[in-house]
């Protein structure tokens, strides 16, 4: 006979504002098998948890139902509470009275009634629950970091410095990411490359870090503690073990007019190239799409001039397999191009550029060696207009969110421009200035007060060319929407930060969730910001949402700490939500008939075949057996099983049927 305790949480007023918690406890208390039912203001607090513990001991409870927030939030908390009072933690269930009841319904009879039936449903489930034991699996103490921008670099270094092996995978020929493209960084105006490149070198030289550049994640299998990953090493066409990085091939390459990705299209590069002089590794790869040999079948000039014979044209992509215990995803973001904006010329005006291109113009390593010159004719612009929130915070463009970094970098751009062009005039069109960071507001004030940047609050309706000038037509909303027209020499659009192309496919490979804009989703927006819903996969940097360098670095260190904490355990304790095939007394042994439909259904190859033998060793029958280390508990096999011989612990047929029956009876 079950003795069940029911605990209804008010969650301050979050639940009790629309649900009559006392009535819920009273009504559920009448259910057969419920020994004890009560309500309390904060069940997850210390006194609340003590209430549960005490009741378990006093009433010798065999099961507990807590009616509170979502089980995704506090199920682990309450299960731990039960365990500390000596009750098997898997005899505790959480009814979702907050996210799926009190927050989504108005106050009223029907809301309380729904709450009652939700709790009753779980009371029936607990009656069928079986005590389960957690599963321990060994952990592979090696991490995979995907993406070699500042987030990946920081995460890899932090994990490596904890003494664990790290594999860093970068899809471009060099690590460094967007940060390597920046000129100076706000709010200190120190040079981005000067603070980044030493870290890049540290990664390359770290004994615990294996670096794979020009490589991409191909496949992920397994789960936390034991992921099997396949990495595609794209053919570089250059043997790095021979190449000395002398650069002769780049000088001789006849394809010289390819737009350089590193310079955001403002400079050119060759077909065999190192993305930038400070690249790590500083060895070239061949861009097959632009190489004469790959496209037309002849040239091979690089091979002729290479003093060490490092060029290898016919080598295919390689695939390597690695076993890792945790994955940190740091794939970063992208910025929209100017051609996304029909009102600003669809990208056809050469002097309308985006923020990243301005970074390259202002950078000492850029195409103009740090002089602000307009792309069309190389003249120094005397009047420059910056337009903030290009795309961002604009639901009409499909981007309702704030890109977070634009306010600050636009202020920085205007400041850098004023420092370099003393007689120049700079205007910034903005919606709001969001300078929320240490010394950020002061930085913006400095741009306005010391450097004389003119801030105009309002939107720009149109940019068009007239007599060699870019006419910027906007409005000043602080002056009652008075029209403003500026004849500019150059226009810089602070275009929205968006997710990387391919982010969706990557998320699907790893089975992590993403938001409507293809930024990866964290497990909890406040309390678990660096974890994903897939255990063992962590997030850092702008792949989660646009963010600046300090936030990215702290998030990367946070993810690294999570990985280190995981690796500090001897074994990994996993929830026993796995499938099992029943066993019974001879002569049946198991109701499994050996059709192995479950084997075809299982995505994890967790179904094995077991021979049941008689004393002489003759096989009586072959039945299915679940490998508990591989099973992830999806339960697809359960729905497939024709003889109902396989069941999933924690979501068994008995439990699910009694839930449904209870829900409809109440």
């Amino acid at each position: 006979m079950s003795k069940i305790g029911v605990f209804i949480c008010h969650c301050g007023e979050n639940i009790s504002a629309t649900v009559d918690c006392q009535k819920v406890a009273e009504e559920v208390g009448k259910v057969e098998g419920v020994e004890f039912a009560t309500d309390y203001k904060y069940m997850c607090s210390d006194p609340g948890q003590n209430l549960i513990k005490q009741a378990i001991k006093e009433h010798h409870l065999t099961g507990v139902v807590v009616g509170s927030c979502s089980p995704r939030m506090h199920e682990p908390t309450f299960r731990k509470t039960c365990a500390s009072a000596g009750l098997n933690p898997f005899m505790c269930e959480v009814a979702n009275l907050r996210e799926q009841c009190s927050w989504v319904h108005e106050k009223g009879e029907s809301t309380t009634e729904k709450a009652i039936s939700l709790v009753k449903m779980l009371v029936e489930k607990v009656k069928k629950d079986q005590p389960l034991q957690s599963i321990e699996v060994p952990i592979t103490k090696k991490a995979l970091v995907i993406g070699g921008g500042i987030a990946g670099i920081q995460a890899a270094l932090d994990i490596a410095n904890c003494g664990h092996q790290v594999i860093l995978v970068e899809k471009e020929p060099s690590i460094g990411g967007h940060m390597s493209q920046l000129s100076e960084t706000f709010p200190t105006l120190d040079c981005s490359q000067c603070i980044l490149t030493p870290r890049m070198v540290e990664v390359a030289q770290h004994p615990n870090i294996t670096l794979y550049t020009y490589a991409e994640l191909e496949k992920v299998e397994g789960s936390i503690g034991n992921f099997d990953v396949t990495i595609r090493l794209k053919a570089k066409s250059v043997d790095f073990s021979k190449c000395t990085g002398c650069g002769t091939c780049q000088q001789k390459c006849p394809q010289k007019k390819i737009p350089s990705e590193f310079n955001a299209g403002l400079g050119t590069r060759t077909a065999i190239y190192v993305p930038f002089p400070q690249a790590v590794p500083n060895k070239p790869v061949i861009d097959k799409e632009h190489c004469n040999y790959y496209q037309k079948g002849k040239c091979k000039l690089c091979s002729k001039v290479c003093p060490v014979g490092a060029i290898e044209y016919d080598k295919p992509d390689e695939f390597i397999k690695e076993n890792v215990g945790a994955i940190v995803v740091t794939t970063g973001f992208n910025v929209l191009n100017t051609d996304f904006f029909p009102e600003y010329g669809y990208g056809k005006y050469k002097d309308v550029i985006n923020g990243l291109q301005f970074e390259r113009l202002a950078s000492a390593s850029g195409p103009t060696l740090g002089e602000i010159r307009r792309p069309s004719d190389g003249a120094i612009p005397k009047k420059i207009v910056f337009i903030a929130c290009c795309g961002s915070r604009d639901p009409a463009k499909g981007i309702p969110y704030c890109s977070k970094i634009c306010c600050m970098y636009t202020a920085k751009h205007a400041m850098l421009y004023q420092h370099k062009v003393h007689d120049g005039e700079s205007y910034i069109f903005y919606m709001d200035v969001r300078a929320t960071g240490k010394n950020y507001e002061e930085f913006v004030r400095r741009a306005i007060e010391e450097d004389g940047v003119k801030y105009v609050r309002g939107r720009v309706a149109r940019v068009y060319e007239k007599n060699g000038k870019l006419i910027v037509k906007g409005a000043d909303t602080l002056l009652g929407g008075q029209p403003v027209e500026i004849e500019a020499d150059m226009v810089v659009l602070a275009t929205a930060g968006v997710s990387n192309p391919g982010a969706e496919q990557l998320a699907q490979k790893m089975h992590i969730s993403y938001d409507p804009y293809y930024f990866f989703s964290e497990a909890h927006p406040k309390l678990r910001p660096v974890e994903t819903n897939t255990a063992g996969i962590f997030l850092a940097g702008a792949c989660q949402s646009p963010k600046d360098i300090p936030d990215t670095v702290s998030m990367a260190s946070g993810a690294a700490a999570k990985v280190a904490a995981l690796f500090s355990q001897k074994n990994l304790v996993r929830e026993p939500v796995i499938a099992v095939v029943n066993r019974c007394a001879p002569p049946v042994f198991s109701t499994c008939v050996g059709c192995f439909m479950c084997e075809t259904a299982c995505p994890y190859h967790a179904i094995e075949r077991e021979d049941i033998k008689d004393r002489k060793g003759n096989v009586i029958k072959t039945v299915a057996k679940v490998n508990p280390g591989l099973c992830q508990g999806c339960g697809t096999c359960v729905a497939f099983c024709r003889s109902k011989s396989i069941d999933i612990q924690g979501f068994s047929n008995e439990e699910m049927y009694s839930e449904v029956v209870s829900l409809l009876n109440s």
């Binding site: 979502s70 089980p71 995704r72 979702n96 907050r98 996210e99 799926q100 927050w103 989504v104 319904h105 108005e106 029907s110 809301t111 009634e113 729904k114 039936s117 939700l118 449903m121 998320a507 699907q508 089975h511 969730s513 993403y514 938001d515 409507p516 989703s521 819903n533 897939t534 939500v577 259904a601 995505p603 994890y604 992830q632 508990g633 999806c634 339960g635 697809t636 359960v638 729905a639 497939f640 999933i648 979501f651 047929n653 699910m656 049927y657 839930e659 449904v660 029956v661 829900l663 409809l664 009876n665």
Partner: protein
Amino acid sequence: MDNNNEFEPKIVAFVCNWCTYAGADLTGTSRIKYATNVKIVRFPCTGRIDFMLLLKAFAGGADGIIISGCHPNDCHYTSGNFHARRRWITFRHMLEILGVDVRRICFTWVSAAEGAKWADVVNDNVANIRKLGPYKEYTKVAQYFEKEAYNEQD
């Protein structure tokens, strides 16, 4: 069908833990209101849903059923939602042959980011089932099943 104005349908939702359950949590976090008629039963994956549960729910007096999981390719377990989809396609035809009103079953996908969509799914379904009225015909179908099963035994 006269008292349809007062009719409050009973609807059971079978949802997966990773997408729709999280999506429904997001509906709550975003404080989007919806009808109280739908009650959620949490499964690890839509691939886990034994479709006999649907018949069990109708037999228990449900007027409508929602099945919702991850969008194609987004399954936490790689392929569970594909199995569910294939099962649904087959099962739907079988139910039609048996005379079960398949308009009362809604098969959909709601991701963890689609809190607003979940509210729409619920409200649309409640309105739809309210229009269809209480599902009394199922008892007739069930009785027929039983009679047939009895006849087969002879």
